[in-house]
Symmetry: C2
DNA sequence: ACTTGGCACTCTCGGATATAGACTGCTAAC
DNA sequence: GTTAGCAGTCTATATCCGAGAGTGCCAAGT
């Protein structure tokens, strides 16, 4: 009775053969046959021997042939094993590191929004795939200043200056009209209390203070706190920056118009994509979803390589690359990793 | 010696035959043969006669057959003649007008930005093609209020409230730090002088006043005016709102991946597209570019139907639709026209 | 002078057929 | 355990063929 074959049983030779096969396939996209592989492997083994090994890999579900008489193509599991165990991540070449640095640091006078766009463009142009960067969570940004301006019709314009650079504004609806001086007073109070603290802690403090203030009956203070509460409501649309979707059009793997259409519509809808990337916020370093692993059927023939980026040790966003399953993981991983690190540094510098 | 044939020579019968042909082709996208056309035309003429007429139309360059034994397809000139002389624009059906009204007016509490997005979505969903709306020129919007906030490092945050709804902010670099009260004073002065006037006239007044103030040596006033000048600099990025690019993917006319890719890249680059639409700002009503008429090779197989929209008689932006040359011009023209009118009305209401 | 029916000719499209090339799996020998 | 060789399988490509659609032209009819 034959033993069921398991991945652990794979001897080093089979593994390195798998590695060669995946690399070969990544290079030229054609199913790899035994002859080709023998040549790529250095002629130390005959094609026939390789056929035997490939048959084992096939049984394990690591490779498949699209039809009887074609070569073998890595399956999702094959890629998985490849990236997990066969790929020694090696640091990016100096040349490319420099390029990334230049793009991110060299430009003068741009807001962090521009920085994210640069990063996205960078990922896209370096990998020739689609680059995605989710915008940093503002939750941990430092509140510099808050101001209110009176508008007509019981509305107040709230302005938050965050990180000395970014400005958010929001229109609040209030029960009555306020005069400039009332609003000024409220703003002064809030600035002195909360200036310099991050938005999360401001929010906590706000909620606490509101209770106290309500008891002490200082009406204006209650209202000021209420307005501030509204203004820093964290339910802002999260968003993302995307570049190079059109690069995806070049890959014949994805070229059935149907698939592409679905993919672009997903980009248009944003939500799914955002959720996928949000899931990466928790992870430590580079994360890789291969094919259906992402859980989104639209991305079935795509892989996603992502990494969170941090400012002062706080994870503030995620960036990554979306491309066909058959991508140069080695290179892409390095690029994503480096870009994440450098983007974090660049953001820190600007705050 | 045969007379060279000219469009003016076309008798009414030939024209109405051309009309039938174009309409037929728009309907089902197949080259139209003499038999089909005879049937569509009501059997009052035989196929052979129609063949003769079609031959004339061919000589005039109004129709072409893709190959010897296919029917005829309208050329760019054919479409041109069709839309210019054969199409009696008829008002949009009540049902669709209602739909547009609802989408634009019904939604509560949205900024004009949202309104533009609605319009773009609307165009896209109604026509199943790509909808484009350029953002209104702010030049003629009324300045409600201007405020300054001090930042560190010789920077000042300027906030413009326009139209009671929209807020723009900009960081200005100044020679020295200003205190809150100085800035407050400057803002008060500017608000009392310019509040309620549109940005163009504010700008004019500013430049004039700067000369006077410089003479009277009121330093703060000079600086206030200088800051305001910076803040309302009209060289803002113009931008546009786009919806439904993916709709274009459905048309087999555009389905060579190459063409599509170029098209999407054009969307990504924006500039060309923006220039095309900017050219429409001057025109009176609906404008139509067929195929290469647009002057942008990327749009060679596309037509553009656009119309400027106005607020208080002032043209503030352009909207339109991009789709394959073979589109239902009759319908699209009505939709674009109506949407432009209603968008103008909706914008006016919100100001 | 148009209009019409008829006919030969042309060109495309779809399906069927043949062929070359690329692999595999198996077997038997090393 | 490895290898060479061979039969068998499958794809991709080219080629052919017939059906269908449509034109252009001619000769006859109005």
């Amino acid at each position: 009775m034959p033993q069921p074959v398991r991945q652990e049983d794979l001897d080093p030779r089979a593994l390195s053969l798998l590695k060669a096969l995946v690399e070969q396939y990544i290079r030229d996209g054609q199913p790899v046959g035994s002859r080709t592989l023998a040549r790529a492997f250095g002629m130390s083994l005959s094609a026939a021997t390789i056929r035997n090994v490939m048959s084992d890999l096939d049984d394990l579900g690591l490779v498949r042939s699209p039809h009887t008489s074609a070569g073998r193509v890595p399956t999702v599991q094959g890629y998985r094993l490849f990236v997990d165990r066969l790929l020694k991540p090696q640091p990016l070449g100096n040349q490319e590191t420099e390029e990334i640095k230049q793009q991110l640091f060299a430009q003068s006078s741009h807001s962090s929004q521009d920085l994210l766009e640069s990063a996205s463009q960078l990922l896209s142009s370096l990998t020739q795939m689609a680059g995605v960067v989710t915008v940093p969570r503002r939750d941990y940004a430092a509140l510099r200043q808050i101001e209110f301006l009176p508008l007509s019709g019981g509305r107040v314009l709230a302005i938050l200056v965050v990180n000395e650079r970014e400005v958010q504004n929001r229109i609040l609806h209030t029960h009555r009209d306020y005069s400039s001086s009332e609003l000024q007073e409220a703003a002064n109070y809030l600035n002195s209390m909360f200036g310099g603290r991050n938005l999360v802690s401001v929010r906590e403090a706000l909620l606490r203070d509101m209770l106290n203030a309500r008891q002490s009956m200082d009406q204006l203070m209650v209202e000021a706190l209420g307005m501030a509460e509204q203004a820093i409501d964290p339910n802002q649309k999260k968003d993302y920056v995307l570049a190079g979707e059109t690069n995806l059009m070049g890959f014949q793997e994805l070229s059935r118009v149907e698939t592409l259409k679905a993919l672009f519509e997903a980009f248009e809808r944003k939500r799914d994509l955002l959720r996928l990337f949000d899931n990466c916020l928790g992870a430590e370093g580079v994360q890789i979803f291969i094919g259906e692993e992402s859980g989104y059927t639209v991305l079935d023939d795509c892989s996603v390589v992502s990494a969170p980026y941090t400012v002062n040790g706080q994870v503030v966003g995620v960036l990554g690359v979306i491309g066909p399953t058959r991508m140069d993981y080695d290179r892409v991983i390095s690029i994503v990793d480096t870009t994440a690190r450098l983007l974090g540094a660049a953001l820190k510098e600007r705050n």
